[in-house]
Amino acid sequence: MSKLTMVEALNLALAQEMDRDSNVVLMGEDIGVNGGVFRVTKDLQSQFGENRVLDTPLAECGIVGTAVGMAVYGLRPVVEIQFSGFTMQAFDQIEQNMARLNNRTQGKYTVPMVLRTPYGGNIRAVEHHSESREAYWAHTPGLHVVIPSGPRNARALLAAAIRSDEPVIFYEPKAIYRAFREEVPDAPELLEIGKANVVQEGSDITIISYGATLRTCIEAAQDLEEDHNVSADVIDLLSVSPIDTETIATSVQKTGRCLIVNEGQRTCGIAAELIARINETCFEYLEAPIKRITGFDTVFPYFQVEEHFLPECEEIVSTAKSIVAWE
């Protein structure tokens, strides 16, 4: 057991899975000697060799497309796309092949690959480096879309994603790559993909989030408890495809009130999908309209003003209070 950052925990998962299964290969830009621009693959090339940690040409579509072929041939490629904004270059291969080959071939060819990519804002980066477009991939039939919120679950989810025979998009909340440390056991841990985690239990309201904003929600829930006598169920989605409707419905049926927080754009976003599911499963239990705090339907702002775009603790607290007070 050691205290690791998310970057270190992801590195541990990669190292252990590569050690366990020689079919696991890493592909990406600058992931070898450089260890990736965020150092998630640090030292893995020297440990496992150049034929297992491939510094690829600078072509995201090429990386994903060739990884699909390698997966069909029986390998387990784990691709790093340097920033999720660059994943658009690979949209073609994700949609046409990664997500569909299993269906196209009625299961003859599976695509057991993972596409890892750092996503989200708050790192003061130039345009295209702060996107949260998980809704694209959740909207794409055939994919699993996983988003950890801390070092320990990041490690366990990545290991599960690598062992999964499904194609997995693995979104890493880079704003909290090094924000805090957590105890991570040395022995491999796995989390079931598609299961949400009830981070804390309460009775007045359900707050749902994932990724970096989950931390903000936990902070808000503490404020609500300490300063406003509001106790919240806080749910960490962990997977936006599939979505654990059951855990959400159980909570909202108990609390009757719900707030959803995500930094991705609002229209057709994950919060919109959650509201629809709660409407389908919890309508008669609801005591107040469900609210969402999301990114706006704008391009992610240039970083001088990005802090105003992201969901903040105070707004979560005040919105939760207004939902609880609603009659």
């Binding site: 040409p57 090429g62 497309g65 699909v68 069909v72 029986g74 196209r104 009625q106 299961g107 025979d165």
Partner: protein
């Protein structure tokens, strides 16, 4: 797997990386791109280049010829079925039979083939039953998966999107030290897709055992090659990526086989990819939804009729005394009968199962899809459609 980074200039080999970027280290020797070889063995008059004439047995020659005749018979029957409303939209391979047959002739069963959609002659040679291909084009999902013992990819509908996965398969072979190779084909139109250039680059960088066959058939639906690219020589595309490239008469079966054999040998020996530009012509429609009289002249098609891949092969076989006219007629009749037999099997196959649309989205069906499937089954039930 080879993972060496391509050096920006060979003049700097052995020096520090940084120095290769300093102006003083710039090698000012003009770069020679070299010549691209052009290969033809059997010309349109059935005359063979004696220096290159292959040494096949009569049975092998008849077998090769029959493959092309079968592809044409299949094509013709499919068109009839489509016009009768008993077949979906499909892409005829008329005129490209030699190109298609030649590119898979040297392949072994363990090798892989990643075809584009105008390749059914090759798919038949690879072991796809003809009724299976009919099923595919008639809109049945179970027509798409390659037969269990055939190492083929399902073909690509989005132009050029299958080429990168084909390279990935080759990279997988290298990783596992398997002495196999992949043939992937695509067209002059697909050459404009960025993904195809990326595929050539990845294959070259990783020395993947991949044979790229660019079937330059003159047309991408209504867009002629001169509007597709500034140069009509698609073999040039390989040179920039350090992929050995050759321009081949795609209507000459011998040339296609020889070029592909050499490329597969190179691939198996770890020498990396090859690009074969096969110059051929789409004699028929883009697909059955297309009317080429809108955009091309009959005279152009007539000129290519004289370069027919079957005709020149017949002339050759006759001149060699391998077959006579009555054999040609007998082979044509036999192929027609095979196709009709496949058609009859196809007509007797089960109807499509409307309940299976959820079943292959994931290896294990998600809870949300299970719910949606239940909803869908209720819809079918309300409409009186029984689930199997």
């Amino acid at each position: 797997m080879a993972t060496e980074n391509p050096s920006p200039s060979t003049a700097n080999e052995g020096q520090e990386v940084a120095s290769s970027k300093t102006p003083s280290a710039m090698d000012t020797t003009p770069i020679q791109l070299g010549q691209i070889e052009v290969l033809q063995i059997l010309n349109e008059h059935g005359e063979v280049d004696e220096g290159l004439e292959p040494n096949y047995t009569n049975d092998e020659l008849i077998d090769m010829y029959t493959s092309m005749v079968r592809a044409r018979a299949f094509d013709k029957r499919m068109l009839t079925m489509q016009r009768q409303g008993r077949m979906g939209t499909f892409a005829p391979n008329l005129g490209q039979e030699a190109c298609i047959a030649g590119q898979v002739y040297p392949l072994l069963k363990e090798d892989w083939y990643a075809p584009s959609y105008r390749s059914f002659g090759a798919q038949i040679m690879r072991g796809w039953p003809m009724e299976h291909l009919m099923r595919l084009w008639a809109g049945f999902h179970d027509g798409f998966p390659p037969p269990q013992d055939v190492n083929d990819m399902p073909f690509s509908i989005v132009i050029g999107s299958h080429v990168l996965p084909a390279v990935g398969i080759g990279m997988g072979m290298t990783y596992k030290n398997d002495p196999n190779c992949v043939v992937v084909n695509y067209g002059d139109g697909a050459s404009s897709q960025g993904a195809v250039s990326e595929a050539l680059n990845f294959a070259a960088v990783y020395k993947a055992p991949v044979v790229f066959v660019c079937e330059n058939n003159g047309w991408a639906i209504s867009t002629p090659t001169e509007k597709q690219a500034s140069s009509e020589h698609f073999a040039k595309r390989g040179v920039a990526f350090d992929v050995p490239s050759i321009r081949v008469d795609g209507n000459d079966l011998f040339a296609m086989i020889k070029a592909t054999e050499e490329a597969t040998t190179r691939a198996r020996n770890g020498e990396g990819p090859t690009l074969i530009e096969a110059v051929t012509y789409r004699m028929s429609l883009h697909t059955t939804a297309d009317d080429p009289t809108v955009y091309r002249k009959d005279s152009e098609v007539e000129a290519w009729e004289k370069r027919c891949p079957l005709l020149r092969f017949e002339l050759y076989l006759k001149s060699k005394g391998v077959i006579e006219q009555h054999d040609i007629e007998a082979i044509a009749t036999a192929c027609d009968e095979e196709v009709i037999e496949a058609r009859d099997k196809f007509y007797e196959m089960d109807p499509a199962d409307p309940t299976e649309i959820f079943d292959f989205m994931h290896i294990e069906m998600t809870e949300e899809l299970k719910e949606q499937k239940d909803e869908y089954l209720k819809r079918l039930s309300n409409k009186g459609v029984t689930d199997e």
